[in-house]
């Protein structure tokens, strides 16, 4: 019976969260079609593939394919995708799903190009049916809007938006009559040298300094209102006092005040701190989509009409160049008191 295939991503043999979320959504698709859910593992050694397959079992995966090739150890997008496309041609699955990550998007795009079918990316909900087009909901504008769409073509190619569904093991794994080991089938694709032109030739490690923006509990964000690179010094100081990190709006990046790695929003990073302190930021939709995960937002802005006040939990109306230094002073006093 034709299956639903999930392309799982792993880092040195460890599954990533986005793949487990994808499998959770894929399981629902498989159930709706009364089809088995199968997984595809690429770029792993045999022992790794075996271990990964076993880790997939609780998610309702019935079988895993190990796409095996000397040249596929490290990432080579076209070659990996050709491996998947050849497997698809042999097995004729109903659908192929990947996680909505950089790699998932890149692979599904190549697979789609190889097979001549479109891919629906960043899906949050899929209403599968055995015949005809599928109805689905996907993200637009980096998640600021939802799109209901109809997907035609065979097989259906999809990526699942990260954090759209929570990763959950299958509710009641049937224990009787089921083998403990997941069936792992090796599949060897035929690759030519031209498929391997694009591959990682080197890896460079980035230097890590301070709390990464994506992990910080407190983020102090600065926008046009900060006025200069110099102006960000006080935000740095405030962030340091609160054990947090500094982020910024696109205006700050475009003016060269901050590196792009600090940019929060649709074309920057998405953060999920306990508290986001937005200073001199108007609250454009493309910025706010990056702070959807923030538990609380405090906005400091001199314009009482600024849209950020409609999205913030707490607001302070005024000039950040007066308020932030005073705030730093007060916090320092408290800290000194606590220490003494």
């Amino acid at each position: 019976m034709s299956a639903v295939l999930g392309l799982v991503e792993h880092d040195q043999g460890k599954l990533n969260e986005a793949s487990l979320e994808m499998l959770t959504l894929a399981r629902g698709v498989a159930q709706a079609l009364n089809a088995p859910l199968e997984a595809v593992i690429i770029g792993a050694e045999e022992a790794q593939a075996r271990a990964l397959a076993d880790a997939l079992r609780p998610y309702g995966v019935a079988k895993a394919y190990w796409v095996r090739h000397e040249a596929l150890r490290d990432y080579a997008p076209l070659a990996w995708a050709k491996g998947v496309a050849q497997l698809v041609q042999q097995r004729q699955p109903k659908a192929v799903l990947a996680a909505g990550t950089d790699r998932g998007h890149e692979l599904i795009a190549h697979v789609g190009a190889q097979l001549g079918v479109v891919a629906a990316t960043n899906c949050v909900e899929v209403r599968a049916q055995a015949n005809g087009p599928w109805a689905l909901t996907r993200l637009r504008w980096g998640g600021s809007l939802l799109e209901d769409a109809e997907l035609k073509g065979e097989p259906k190619l999809l990526t699942v938006a990260p954090h759209a569904v929570a990763a959950e093991p299958a509710p009641s794994p049937a224990t009787e009559g089921v083998e403990l080991e997941l069936e792992l089938e090796a599949f060897t694709p035929e690759l030519s040298d031209s498929d391997l032109v694009v591959r990682v030739v080197e890896r460079v490690q980035a230097e890590r300094k301070g709390v990464p923006l994506t992990e910080a509990k407190v983020v102090v964000g600065g926008g046009r209102g900060v006025g200069s690179a110099e102006g960000f010094k006080m935000l740095e100081e405030l962030a340091a006092l609160l054990g947090g990190a500094v982020g910024c709006s696109r205006v700050a990046t475009n003016n060269g005040w901050r590196p792009h790695t600090d940019q929060i929003g649709q074309t920057g990073v998405q953060i999920a701190p306990d508290l986001y302190i937005a200073c001199g930021i108007s609250g454009a939709i493309q910025h706010m989509v990056g702070v959807k995960g923030a538990k609380r937002i405090l906005a400091i802005n001199k314009d009482p009409e600024a849209p950020i006040f409609q999205r913030a939990d707490y607001g302070v109306i005024g000039d950040l160049h007066e308020i932030v230094p005073k705030l730093i002073e007060e916090i320092k006093k408290i800290k000194a008191g606590q220490a003494g």
Binding site: P77, D102, H105, E106, I108, A109, H110, A113, Q114, V118, A120, T121, N122, A135, L139, R140, W141, S144, L145, L146, E147, D148, A149, E150, L151, K152, V198, V200, V201, R203, V204, A206, K217, R250, T253, H260, Q266, T267, G268, D274, A284, Q286, I297, A299, P307, F309, Q310, R311, Y314, G315, V316, I317, G318, E322, I323, K326, L327, E330, I334, K335
Partner: protein, 257 residues
Amino acid sequence: MNVLVCIKRVPDTGARFELTPDGRDIDTRNLEFTISPHEECAVEEAIRLIERHGGGSTVLTLGPEAATEQLREALAKGIDRGVLLETDGSEWDPVATAQAIVEAVKGLEAAQGAPFDVLLFGNESADAGHYQTGVRVADALGRPCVAGIKALEVDVQDGTATAKREIPGGWEVYRVPLPAVFTVKEGINVPRHPSLRGIMTAKKKAIQRLQPPKPEMQLVKTRLRKPPERTGECEILGEGVEAVPKIVEKLKELGVI
């Protein structure tokens, strides 16, 4: 060298989206239009490549006549010529878009008697975010493609390019022969603003118009919806420095200090 960069006209929304009454589109009556920041960086990268290595640059878009506004903006920044693949303004899926771009590239390359050494795309379009148009064009042309790059260096002597992609904790480095396709992420450069002179000369630069046939769509948008928004009142803690004690109180309450 020859460089082609592909951009897409999209509404520049402000603080929130307004939808048309039938829920199919964004109400653009009070909006300006723009392109994705990724594509702005792709345009900048194209200009820099030509500044560094000489040659010519082309900007291409598939969209309605009004999209010439975005082409002119790129021309004003320094791109040499524009190509409009004119549509009725309806939405094209990424297979259809890629197909039309591939045909246009073939035509342009035949006319200039040489391939574009570099084709540049955004990593994803601002509105639809399909993450696939550039990859599809590359595969159809049989050219190497590196997606989502944040650094690009071309070696004209040996005809190769080195591109870097950011991954958690570091970078992946790719080296590919030209001609090649790259999809760009914001952060690769800081785009310039057009100069006054640039804006004047852009008016005289040529825009070629082509009318690609519209194929049947495989992915069809039926409706747009707004996701549930953060609700609840914003508690105003005060105005100016007088509010500082209130902020401190709040920070304590939230367990931040």
